[in-house]
C-alpha cells in the first residue's frame, strides 16, 4: 500500500495539519528546517542512522549519520556566526555537489540566515546578477570556483566573506577570503538554533524571467510542511528508503527534495557528484541498493538512448518507485521505464515558485503516459481561459495552468521585486506560465510555455539574458534567442545573430560566441546553434519579433505579421 492511499479519499479529507501533526508543529511554534532535518531525527533516537552516502567523481566516498550531519551543520552554523553573519542575511552556496553544500545549507538555516544556492557551472555574469540582487553577505565556495567570485568582487560591496572550504594553503587567500575545513574544525555539539517562525525567510532560488534579469524566489521555513508531505505521498518516501535525487541543489528540486524533505523524513539518501553516464548511474543504484529514484526527463531520455542491454548488466532489483520532474515526461519514456525497470516513472509537476509538487501522478493511481497527473490534495489547480482569466467550463481546452495560491511552500515574493510577484496573479489565480488542458477525468496534459522562456533539460533560460550577453560580444550587432526542439533536452537555445561591420560569419566565430556565452552565463544558456542572418524580423517600432523565429524553428504557423517592418 502506498503512503498516499486512495487519491480521491485523500482529496476529500485533506488538511495540511496532517503534516503539522506528524512533524509535531503547532501554529506559532518555532519552525527551523535545519533543526527538523537533523536534531529532531537525533532526538527520535535515530542519530546513528546513515543520512548521506556521498561519492565524488574521483571515487572518494563519505558517509554521514544523522548525528554527523547534526554536528556538521552546527559547526558550519557556528563558524558563520563567528564571522558576524546574522539571521536574515543571505549566504550563497556556490559549490559542486560536495557534502559541504548539503551540510552548509542546513547550517545557514540553523542560524536563521537565508540560503542562496547557485549552480556551480554559472559563469561570472550569471553569478554577479544573482549575488548583486540578493545583496549576499557571504559566499561559500571551493578554490576551483573562487576565481569567478574574485572577478566580480569589486562590484559586490555587500560581500564581507568568501569562505573557501578546500583551501590547501598553497595559494594565498585573497581579499575577503577565509578558509574553513569541515574535516579540521572542532565539532560543535550545541548550537543555539535561531528561533525562526513559519514566515521567516529560508531559501532564495533564482529563476529566469521573460524580460528583465533573474528573480529571487523567496521561500520560508513553513515550506517544510508541503515538502515533507509531498515527498511522503507523491514520491512515496518512507523512512527505510534508500533515496537518490539526481538534482543539483543549485536548483529547487535539489533543495526541496534533495535536502529538506528526505532529511526531515529521516531517510538515507545518496549523492553521486559525477557527470552523467548510463553505466555510472546504474552502477550507483546497484551499489547503494537505491529504492526510490527521483530524476529528470532529460536524464531518462539519455538512459533510453544508451539502450536496454546495458540495464541487464546491473542488479537494479532494489528499485521500488521512480519519479520524474523538470519538464514534461514523454509517454515513450514512461512506457520504456515500465519495460526495462518493471515500473513507470511517475511524472510530477512544480516550479521554483511553488516550492513543492503541485500536480503529479501518485502511486496507486492509474498513470496515463504523457500526463502531468492531478493536483496534489489541498491544491486547487485549473486551466484558465487566457482572455477571460476564468476557468474553462468545458474539458479539453488548452489554457493557462493556474493555482489557488494557498499551500505552505508557495513563494512569498520575488526578492526586491514585489511588482513582478504581483504580476503573477490574475483574477485571484497564480499563473504558472505553462499551458495545458484537463481531460474529463481531471488529468492535466502539458501543452507548452505561455511565454518565451526556454526549458532546457528542466532548467529555465531567459532569452533576454542570453540576448543581453550576446550583445557584449564584440562581433554581435543584434541578436534574438528562441528555443529549438531537441530529442534529449526537450528544447535547447538557438541564437539568430547579425554581425557588426568588419566581421564575417564563420565556423570559428560561431564556436567563439558559443564559448563566450558558456563562460559568461552557463553551459545551459550556451546557444547550441547560431544562425548568422543579415537582419532580424522587427515590428515597425523596432521590437524584435521572436515569435516569428520561434515559429520557424518549431514548424508552426507564423501568424499575424501585419506589424512586421518591411526591409
Amino acid at each position: 500500500m502506498s503512503n498516499i492511499g486512495p487519491y480521491d479519499e485523500r482529496v476529500k479529507n485533506f488538511s495540511w495539519t496532517i503534516a503539522e501533526k506528524e512533524l509535531g508543529y503547532k501554529p506559532g511554534d518555532v519552525i527551523n528546517i535545519g533543526w527538523y532535518c537533523t536534531d529532531r531525527i537525533c532526538e527520535q533516537g535515530k542519530g546513528s542512522k546513515v543520512a548521506l552516502h556521498w561519492e565524488g567523481h574521483t571515487g572518494v566516498e563519505k558517509t554521514y549519520t544523522y548525528n554527523d550531519i547534526r554536528l556538521a551543520s552546527n559547526t558550519i552554523g557556528a563558524f558563520l556566526r563567528g564571522l558576524g553573519l546574522k539571521d536574515g542575511e543571505r549566504v550563497c552556496l556556490f559549490l559542486d555537489r560536495i557534502p559541504e553544500l548539503y551540510l552548509g545549507f542546513l547550517g545557514i538555516l540553523k542560524i536563521g540566515a537565508i540560503a542562496q544556492p547557485l549552480f556551480s557551472a554559472f559563469g561570472d555574469e550569471s553569478l554577479f546578477v544573482r549575488l548583486s540582487n540578493a545583496e549576499a553577505s557571504a559566499v561559500i565556495t571551493q578554490k576551483k570556483h573562487a576565481p569567478k567570485v574574485r572577478k566580480i568582487l569589486e562590484k559586490l560591496p555587500h560581500i564581507r566573506h568568501i569562505i573557501i572550504v578546500d583551501h590547501d594553503g598553497v595559494a594565498p587567500l585573497k581579499d575577503r577570503e577565509v578558509a574553513f575545513s569541515l574535516m579540521k574544525a572542532a565539532p560543535v555539539e550545541h548550537l543555539d538554533i535561531h528561533p525562526t517562525k513559519a514566515e521567516s525567510a529560508s531559501v532564495l532560488h533564482y529563476t529566469s524571467g521573460t524580460t528583465g534579469m533573474p528573480k529571487g524566489v523567496q521561500h520560508v521555513h513553513y515550506s517544510l510542511i508541503s515538502q515533507y508531505l509531498t515527498a511522503k505521498w507523491a514520491l512515496d518516501l518512507r523512512e527505510d528508503d534508500v533515496y537518490w535525487c539526481t538534482a543539483d541543489p543549485g536548483w529547487v528540486t535539489g533543495t526541496s527534495y534533495g535536502i529538506i524533505a528526505p532529511f526531515a523524513i529521516g531517510v538515507t539518501q545518496c549523492v553521486l557528484d559525477a557527470g552523467f553516464s548510463a553505466e555510472a548511474w546504474y552502477k550507483w543504484i546497484e551499489k547503494r541498493r537505491v529504492t526510490m529514484w527521483y530524476s529528470a526527463p532529460t536524464a531518462i531520455r539519455s538512459l533510453m538512448k544508451a539502450g536496454d542491454e546495458i540495464v541487464k548488466k546491473f542488479d537494479l532489483s532494489s528499485l521500488r518507485h521512480l519519479a520524474s520532474v523538470g519538464e514534461p515526461l514523454n509517454s515513450e519514456a514512461v512506457v520504456w521505464s515500465q519495460k526495462v525497470f518493471g515500473m513507470p516513472f511517475y511524472d510530477t509537476y512544480w516550479q521554483t515558485e511553488t516550492g513543492s509538487i503541485v500536480i503529479g501522478n501518485y502511486p496507486g493511481m492509474e498513470v496515463r503516459p504523457g500526463s502531468m497527473g492531478k493536483p496534489f490534495p489541498g491544491i486547487t489547480g485549473t486551466v484558465l481561459d487566457p482572455v477571460k482569466s476564468e476557468p474553462y467550463a468545458a474539458h479539453g481546452r488548452i489554457g493557462l495552468v493556474a493555482l489557488k495560491f494557498d499551500w505552505p511552500s508557495r513563494m512569498r515574493t520575488y526578492w526586491n521585486n514585489e511588482e513582478a510577484f504581483q504580476k503573477k496573479f490574475r483574477n485571484g489565480w497564480y499563473i504558472t506560465g505553462d499551458r495545458s488542458k484537463i481531460d474529463k477525468d481531471g488529468y492535466f496534459w502539458f501543452a507548452g510555455r505561455d511565454d518565451d522562456i526556454i526549458n532546457t533539460a528542466g532548467h529555465l533560460v531567459s532569452p533576454f539574458e542570453v540576448e543581453s550577453a550576446l550583445l557584449e560580444h564584440p562581433a554581435v550587432a543584434e541578436s534574438a534567442v528562441v528555443s529549438k526542439p531537441d530529442p534529449i533536452n526537450l528544447e535547447v537555445v538557438k541564437a539568430f545573430v547579425t554581425l557588426k561591420p568588419g566581421f564575417t560569419a564563420s565556423k570559428d566565430l560561431d564556436l567563439e560566441i558559443m564559448n563566450f556565452i558558456r563562460k559568461k552565463l552557463s553551459p545551459l544558456a550556451m546557444p547550441q546553434e547560431i544562425e548568422f542572418v543579415p537582419s532580424l524580423p522587427k515590428t515597425r517600432s523596432g521590437k524584435i519579433m521572436r515569435r516569428i523565429l520561434h515559429a520557424k524553428e518549431w514548424g508552426e504557423e507564423i501568424g499575424d505579421t501585419s506589424t512586421l517592418e518591411n526591409d
Binding site: 576565481p147 557527470g275 552523467f276 548510463a278 544508451a306 565556423k507 570559428d508 558558456r518 553551459p523 547550441q528
Partner: protein
C-alpha cells in the same frame, strides 16, 4: 598525428573547460563522468573537433562515453578523419 592530436585536444580542454588548474589533465582524466565537461558543454567541444578536423560527428556517436577522456576523443576523431579519406 596521434600525439599531436592528443596534445591539441588536451590543451583545448584545459584552456576552455578546466576550472581548477591545480590538478592538471592527463590523457585519461575522465572528462564527462569526472564533471569537467557537462553534456551541454560537450556540444561546443564537438563543434571544435568538427571545425578543426573538417569532420562531422553524428549525434548518436557523440556519446558521454566517447567523449570521456582525451584518449577516447582522439580515437573518435581518428575514425572520422579516416572515413573522410
Amino acid at each position: 598525428m596521434a600525439d599531436e592530436l592528443k596534445d591539441i585536444v588536451l590543451n583545448y580542454v584545459t584552456k576552455e573547460y578546466l576550472e581548477d588548474d591545480s590538478e592538471p589533465l592527463t590523457y585519461e582524466t575522465p572528462l564527462i563522468s569526472g564533471g569537467i565537461v557537462d553534456s551541454f558543454s560537450m556540444v561546443s567541444l564537438k563543434r571544435f573537433l568538427e571545425n578543426k578536423y573538417a569532420i562531422a560527428i553524428p549525434d548518436d556517436e557523440a556519446t558521454p562515453e566517447a567523449f570521456d577522456s582525451v584518449n577516447k576523443i582522439v580515437l573518435l576523431v581518428q575514425r572520422f578523419v579516416a572515413k573522410k579519406g
